[in-house]
Symmetry: C2
Subunit: 354 residues, 2 copies
């Protein structure tokens, strides 16, 4: 039976990416891609192609560098203040990951939370806040994977704007020039677990007075084309294949169109179906992680629905424990058909309930 | 033509590891191993099996934890002093990587180099030094990949002994109890690039007064079974397959026997063949990275030999630029046959020279 993978990450990848990877594991110019030295022309051309695809697909302006590092976005939570926080940092608290990012900054300097939606279990994006003009940077998490809220506009910021885009990078056009830095784990929309992308405007670096350990110093990684030490070879290879697929399918415009299409189909059903309800403010609904629960009077059927959906090939639908219910993660590689099948499940379950 | 991969890392892997990985990329319990969530029983069983194999193969005593982290050994250069350096650290300088490790410690406290072999381009392991008894820890690099020297004994140390075993872990029996910590990148003897192993005696942690960022705090990773954040899934999967292979072939005893066999065959030829010479002190010769150059009078033939070896399917033989000549890296997965073929090359080249 076909599996419909709604997992929150690591995520579904296109079949052609899996096939290219499986093949390269057996043979990549005579060796396995798992075996080749990162100090070879063969590998350098993978790195170059991957970097070029990032620049092309996201339309990254001059003055920015694209790095491929290890350690996940969580490592960047520490690396961002290490490199950028001299006196004061400002954070928008839109969820657990945003909050974890801010927590690391506290070790490096004054850290201000400009606004938080924790009061309502992060079910909305706070409004009406002001970015302190004396902050070294302002940090946002554009998509909140756990709660299903998303910021889909590029703010004007009086200070360096830093965004964790782990779960919505390459799913909409982004005006990169409005950001000083964008980073994230690859394992949702642009690849597998094991590699982290960092897009950084070079002129913001080297301004803090502290000494930096080598591995947290972006300048060192820039100087060494992300190969100061052995990079996570296989994860970068898969990311490159994923970016190739994005380009072939139609680039970011197409990804944005598909994301909107998937989200509309599913939110329409959530709003129509009397036994389900969404968990977030409509205005802040994520296109990526679509969270819903069963209405009062049906709550006891959540486990039954999960089983029903599972029997129809739905994988990874369980909501995060801090929200409960269901979460359909609809990343770049998820076919619209999978969402349609989920909607069918919801409709059939509704019928059976009557 | 069969390739003989003498690359210094990422390294050759056994055919069965490549096949299992290639297959799992296409299908791992219904999804791809690149797609499965790390918060599933399927994945947890991979993590558990990998941890168990580490403990079993290396005979790791109680009181130690085995972590699988991202970022390579270079990240540990910073993480070790972050966690362990309160006042003073001691380092043995046996090469560029040892020296880089010490350089990071300097940011965290007094750092003493107890001895160095830099005076002779790291061609030997320094002798006759004393470990300062007031140091928080003493750091060694057991195998020096670039220069081809190796420490193949487990020191008695009056202070916590910390070893970077990136390039010789699982190639000889190690008395783990003599170490407070052993770490390294997987990409030489135990897997692919992208995952770092850390074996740490738990009672040495939590003794420093500084506050630790989350991602450098070993206690946090212990508490979360190496899954505080998304782990490098595919790299851990390949490592687990590699450990399974080591076990099937005969465990560390067999790895040690094969390492010795490969090294003896090649060093014997280096010592016998009048046109080649080794670059390190005999007593400190590495079983892993076997470095040699052409003798005076033949120096101009190095490029020709490289071409000749290449035409016979030898890959990755070029010595590191700081040593020159040739480096045959003979990691766990390298068949003895590959070394025999290299020796044939050397003998034929010698014949043609006459």
């Amino acid at each position: 039976m076909k599996q419909h993978n709604f997992g929150a990450g690591p995520c579904i990848l296109p079949q052609q990416v899996l096939e290219a990877t499986s093949k390269a594991v057996m043979n990549f110019n005579g060796l396995s891609v798992l075996e080749i030295s990162h100090r070879t022309k063969d590998w350098e051309s993978v790195m170059d192609e991957c970097r070029s695809l990032w620049k092309e697909l996201l339309n990254i302006p001059d003055g920015y560098q694209v790095l491929f590092l290890a350690g996940g976005a969580s490592t960047q939570f520490m690396t961002v203040p290490y490199n950028l926080l001299e006196k004061k940092a400002a954070y928008l608290d839109t969820g657990v990951w945003a909050s974890k990012a801010a927590k690391e900054a506290v070790l490096f300097g004054e850290t201000v939370i400009v606004a938080s939606s924790k009061d309502k279990n992060y079910s909305y994006i706070p409004k009406g806040w002001t970015i302190p003009s004396d902050a070294d940077y302002f940090h946002i998490t554009t998509n909140n994977t756990i709660y299903g809220t998303e910021i889909r506009e590029d703010f004007d910021s009086p200070v360096n704007l830093v965004a964790d885009m782990s779960s919505d990078i390459m799913t909409r056009k982004v005006d990169v020039a409005k950001y000083a830095m964008i980073y994230g784990g690859a394992q949702k929309n642009v690849g597998p677990a094991g590699v982290t992308f960092v897009i950084v405007r070079e002129d913001i670096l080297g301004k803090v007075s502290r000494l930096l350990p080598s591995m947290v110093d972006y300048r060192l990684h820039i100087k060494n084309d992300s190969m100061y030490n052995t990079p996570p070879v296989i994860s970068i290879f898969v990311m490159k294949e994923m970016l190739k697929w994005i380009k072939e399918v139609g680039g970011i415009e197409k990804m944005e169109e598909l994301a909107k299409q998937r989200a509309e189909i599913l939110y329409n059903e959530i709003d129509r179906n009397p036994i389900f309800t969404g968990t977030t403010d409509h205005a802040d609904r994520s296109y990526m992680n679509i969270c819903f629960v069963m209405n009062e009077g049906h709550k006891d059927k959540e486990a039954a629905f999960m089983e029903f959906a599972k029997s129809r090939g739905m994988v990874g639908l369980k909501g995060h424990r801090s929200v409960g219910g269901f979460r359909a993660s609809c990343y770049n590689a998820l076919p619209v058909e999978s969402v349609q099948e989920l909607v069918k499940c919801m409709q059939e379950f509704e019928k059976n309930e009557k």
